[in-house]
Every structure is written in C-alpha cells, then in structure tokens.
C-alpha cells in the first residue's frame, strides 16, 4: 500500500516532463519546416495528346541506362524468338513505360510512366541510410545502390509506386528513373527519352519553363486538354509534369492532395525527437524513479528482516 502512492505521483512527473519536452520540440520543429517549390530545378513535361505510342523512349532508356541502371529486356510469352522488349509495367528491369488507355474506339490516350522527381519526395524522407537523395540544384531524385540496404521503405512510401525492386535476383537493387543523371545528361544535357521522342511529346528543361509551356498549351487549345497540369501541385509539386485529354486518374495517375506526405510524417517525427530532448528526459526521469524505488525497497526489506538474497 505504502509503495503505491509515491510511484503514481512519480508517474505523473514523467508524463509532465515528457509532455513539456514534446511541446518545446514542437514549436522549434514548426518554425523551420514548410518547403518551397524550386522552379529552377529540371524535369520533363509529357504531353499525352502528342504521344504516338512508338515507345522509342522506352528503347532509348534501356539502351542508355541498361548497364549503369541494371536494366534488362523482358520477353513476352508469344515472342519465342526474343525480338521485342515487352515489359508489362515498370519493374526491376524497366525505368520508363508507355501504356495505352482505351475507353472506347474514339476515346483513348497513351501515358508514360517514370519517376515524378517530387519536390518533397517521400522516398528520400523515409530512406534510413540516405541511399535515396534529392539534389537541391537539379531536383533529381537519385538512388545509390552502394548505400541501399534493400528495406523497400521507399516503395511503401511512394504514392506513385515508382521505385521497383529486383525480386528475382540474389543481389537485388531498386530501379527508378534518375533523369539519366550519370549517362545521357552529362553527355548531351538531356534525358534519353526526351532526346529520342519523334513526336515532341516529352519536353525537357527547367521546371519554370515547363510550367510556362504547359500553361501556354492549355491557353491556346481550349477544350483539347483537361484543364490541369498534373504535378504542378500534387504532393507538394513534382518535376515530371503531365498534360492529357483524359482524366488523369484513368491514366493511372492518382488523384492526390497538395500536401507532401513527408511533411506530415516528418512533422510528427520531429515533434517527438527534436534535439533528442524527450528521450533523454524520459531516461533521466525513469532512472530517478527506479533508483528511488530500489532504495526504498532495500530499506523496507531490511526493516522487516525478511530479505532473501535482497538487492543492492
């Protein structure tokens, strides 16, 4: 009975101490967060109404990035001669992909998938060992297989399901577009897919120029497009932008909020761990209580002459 009361009071003390630490952390965290879109970074504008579905971009991507990015050709079952590369989706062998969405004979659209190069990427926010990085200058979201531990948290985090894992390999890695950062870009100043597109469907450049061009197309062609630049604000903005004549969610581009999920999760994580104050406060408070309890118990047992082995 006598032991119960002090311990409950001490419990309240811990709650108070950690609560205060949490509040202190929260203010500091809110003050230095909130990200801004950097329009000087580079990206791509894909215009689905211009795309002819020739897949030259897919072929160029594999040709250029095959060795560096660990890509390979995917054979179709019917293709016994192995003539074509026939990926069904983005995968551990394929960084970019053209798909056709057909609603009716009159209504259809191609769509190109590859990394969206978010302004506030979830994959970068969650990677425990900084294998996913975003270059603040170029805005390129890059992957380093020499650091990656293969935990696949980036896959869980990405709202676009872009990072892919090599499930069939003993030495697997994550595969995703890096805007030809180490291949075509340094050599030619443009990503391979944008370079080879014969229809002008992929425009490569600074985000501000891409946005300007997209707005111009929307303005000059009323009725041709859905009046929305996909990626302009989605999840805090992406550097891969889309124009299309069909609803974006039908093309496999999910309807998303403007807030980056990483803002939300980091806010909570920073609130708890800012300056490591809360864990230290918790540890010291618990030490204080535990030592006091041990001491009290020792005396108690000594008094009653009843210790069996006792303690220290």
């Amino acid at each position: 009975m006598t032991m119960g009361k002090p311990s409950r009071r001490q419990f309240l003390k811990i709650m108070g101490a950690t609560g205060a630490a949490l509040l202190a952390g929260k203010k500091a965290a809110v003050a230095n967060e909130g990200h801004k879109i950097n329009n000087e970074t580079i990206g791509m504008l894909y215009d689905a109404t211009k795309c002819v579905g020739c897949k030259a971009c897919m072929s160029a991507c594999k040709r250029v990035n095959g060795d560096y990015g660990s890509l390979s050709y995917e054979r179709a079952k019917f293709d016994t001669d192995g003539l074509w590369d026939a990926p069904e989706d983005l995968s551990g062998s394929t960084r970019t992909l053209i798909k056709l969405f057909k609603q009716s004979e009159q209504e259809w659209s191609y769509v190109k998938y590859s990394c969206m190069h978010c302004q506030k990427p979830s994959c970068v926010s969650v990677c425990p060992v900084a294998a996913m990085t975003r270059d603040p200058e170029t805005g390129i979201v890059d992957y380093n297989k020499n650091t990656c531990i293969g935990c696949r948290y980036c896959q869980v985090a990405c709202a676009f399901n872009i990072p892919k894992f090599q499930w069939e390999k003993a030495i697997p890695q994550i595969v995703k577009c890096d805007l030809c950062k180490n291949t075509n870009l340094p050599k030619k100043g443009i990503s391979a897919c944008a370079e080879v597109c014969p229809a002008g469907a992929i425009m490569f450049g600074k985000r501000k120029d891409l946005l300007e061009e997209a707005e111009k197309r929307l303005r000059e062609n009323p009725g041709k497009y859905i009046n929305h630049i996909y990626g302009a604000n989605e999840l805090g903005g992406t550097n891969h932008l889309y124009l299309a004549s069909m609803q974006f969610n039908k093309l496999g581009l999910p309807t998303l909020k403007d807030e980056a999920p990483a803002e939300f999760s980091e806010k909570i994580q920073h609130t708890i761990y800012k300056g490591f104050i809360a864990p230290v406060a918790l540890y010291s408070t618990l030490c204080f209580i535990a030592l006091k309890n041990m001491k009290g118990h020792g005396e108690d047992e000594h008094d009653t002459k009843n210790d069996k082995g006792g303690h220290h």
């Binding site: 948290y153 697997p172 864990p279």
Partner: protein, 429 residues
Amino acid sequence: MGHDEYQTHEAKILTPSFIVLLTLTLIGFALIILRFVKGIGTVSNMSDGYPWGIWITYDVATGTAIACGGYAMAILVYIRNRMHYHPMIRSAILTSMFGYGLAGFSVMVDLGRPWNAYNFFVPSKWQVNSAMFEVAVCVMAYTMVLIIEFLPAILTTLEKTEWKTLQHMLDLVYGRLGMERPERIGDRLDKVKELAAWARPRLDKVLIFVIVLGITLPTMHQSSLGSLLLIASTKLHPLWHTGFLPLLFLINCMYIGYSIAILESVISCYAFKRPFETKELSGMARIIPFLTVIWLSVVIGDLAWRGQLGTALSFNFYSCFFLLEFCLIAAGSLILFSKKKRESIRWLFVSAALIVFGGALYRFNVYLIGFNPGKGWHYFPALAELMVTVGIVAFEILGYQVLVKLLPVLPRLHTREQHAATHPLGEKA
C-alpha cells in the same frame, strides 16, 4: 537482485516437442538459404505493390510487440515499484531477448542488400527523418540491452557449474587421441569461474541503468513502428491512417506485453507442470483494462474527429477487420474488469489471448490488411514465406525451452510462496 529467486528447470531437453520444433526450424532455415541463393521472389509473394509482407508484418512489427513482456514487466517492477513481481522478470526478459533477436534476424532475411546494413553505423549516412532509422538503431540497442539484462543468469551458471559435461567430453576426446588431458584446461575453466564471480556483483551494481535504458528504448521504437506508416497516407486505409499511430502503437505494445506475460506464464507452468502463478497474474491483469480503455478511447475519439465513424460501421472488408480487432480487445478487457474472473486461470488465459490476438490484428491491419497500394495489386503470403516465419517462431520457442532447462530463469518455487506471504493479495498491483 537476489539470484536465488530463480531456478533451473530440471527436465530432459530432448522431448517430442523439441524434435517437432527442431524440424520446423530446419525447414525454415533451409528456405532462408534458398532465399539468399535465388532471391526473395523465389520464396515470397511480395511484390512492388506489397513490398512488405508477412516477414515485416509478423516477425518485426507484431513479433516485437509480443516480445514486449520484458518491457512491460520492467515498468511494473522498477517504475511502478512492484518488487514482488521480480521473480517473474527473468523469463519475460528471455522471451523478449528471443523475440527481438529474431526480429532483427528476420530483418536481415527480408533486406535486399543486408551487406550494406553497416551504414547504420556511419554517421554521414544517418537519415534522422526516417522512422525506419530510429526503429533500426533502437531495436539493435535494445537487443544488446536485453542480452546484458539476461547476463546475470549466465554468469551465475558459469560461477556454479562444475563443467561436468565438458570435462567428460574432453576426457573422451583426449582418451581417443591417447593423450593426457593438459592441466591448463582445468585452470582455464577455473579462471572463467573466477571471472564470472568477479563480474556478477559489479554488473549488478550498474544493471539498473541498463534496465532503465531497456524501458526507454522500447518506448521510442514501439511508437516509431507506428510512425513508419505515417508516410503511406494514400495507401493505408483512413480507418488506420492517423497522426496518433505512434501513440496507438506504444499503448498497444504495453497491453500486449502484460497479456503475453500472462499467457507465457500460464503456458509454461502448464507445460513444465509447475503450479500456476495465479496471484501474480491476477494482479498484473488489473493493469491491462486501464491501458486498453485509453487505447480504445483514442481510437474512437480519433475516428470521430476525422469523421470516419461511418466508415468504421460500414461493414465492408476494411470495416470488418477493424471491428474484429476492436471487439477482440474490448471483449478481453471486459472480462478483466471482473475481480472474480481475474482470479481464475482459465479466464485470465482467455482474456489475455483475446487481447494479444486483437492487438496483433491491429498491427496486421496497419501493415498489411489496411494497406492498399492501388488497383491490380494483391498479396497473400506464399507457403515458403510462411514456413520461414514458422521456422523462426519455432526456433524462438525451442530456444526458450532449452535455456530454461540450462539456466536459472523460472521463479524459484519457495521464494514465490514467501513473496505471496509477505505481499498478500489484498495489496494492489
């Protein structure tokens, strides 16, 4: 703490259950070898849509909660000052040690590029925004803490052992070789004994600081296990995706911790034919409903605040799993509110089991069942994938079974009676 509070369970190691568990363990480990040779896709149904399967969901996210018995008991004994539970703590720590150690092992099986895991120790690679980083570092540290907490059991044994089996084996080997056994072996064994006798009281003195670390670390990483899914705002169903995930995971691991301590005690007393620890268990069971009521209130309050109560009662796929989880925990707690039922081993067992299942289902809901990456993705674990998990769990039980027969882990029977006498049941616990 007094080391004669504990005793080694005297029984044969080679039992039928030992053989069964060993077989399952070996199957699991064979499949793990296959996974490393041929890739994760060979044994698992995980996909780019469901990159985390049963290994992360069960072995890591749920397994560590089930291994929270040591955490819950440490809070009870050292912070809430209920020293009369002290004799029960060592077996709780042993199961926690296995739970956490094997969760760490499962992670290494699940990681695609485990050889790069050293990056957790390279400060330039630390990514403190990542809940995964926090979980990984804390789980590694806590596993070390658990080993240190368990060390006294090993040291006591080293100190007292006569090395009979080892000496016998050495004699046999040297006999075969036709040589005399060198004197220095005996000396070395004595050295080990002396070292253990020297280390044990010194360890005892600082142990409390390690024990408190063993309370701080799970508080941190169990909440972070909830934080892990905060980022998946578009994939995790709104019934479970909330800013309260860290808090819910923390309370969840506490009530699972106390419930699993009850289950483990009942099961091991039954299996090892020891008297049930009814008094201690009913005292511990009193704490659980307080925790579950807080948890259930946060869940309901949060759903109401986010306007999702209608979703919860819509009886679709997600709603049914949510209601199942909710009802299991609520039912278990209701039973424990009754003093009479808390004093019956059968009801204690039933209610603790309901709460462990409900609490574990909550974690499954968050990591797998409520997780929907989009159209066209499906996941159900492959047989080989399940067998890896079964193998790891079998190894865990096997290890516990063997170690309680080798080391002083279980409460010594006579001290427990003494404790009962000095701390009558009327005292609140």
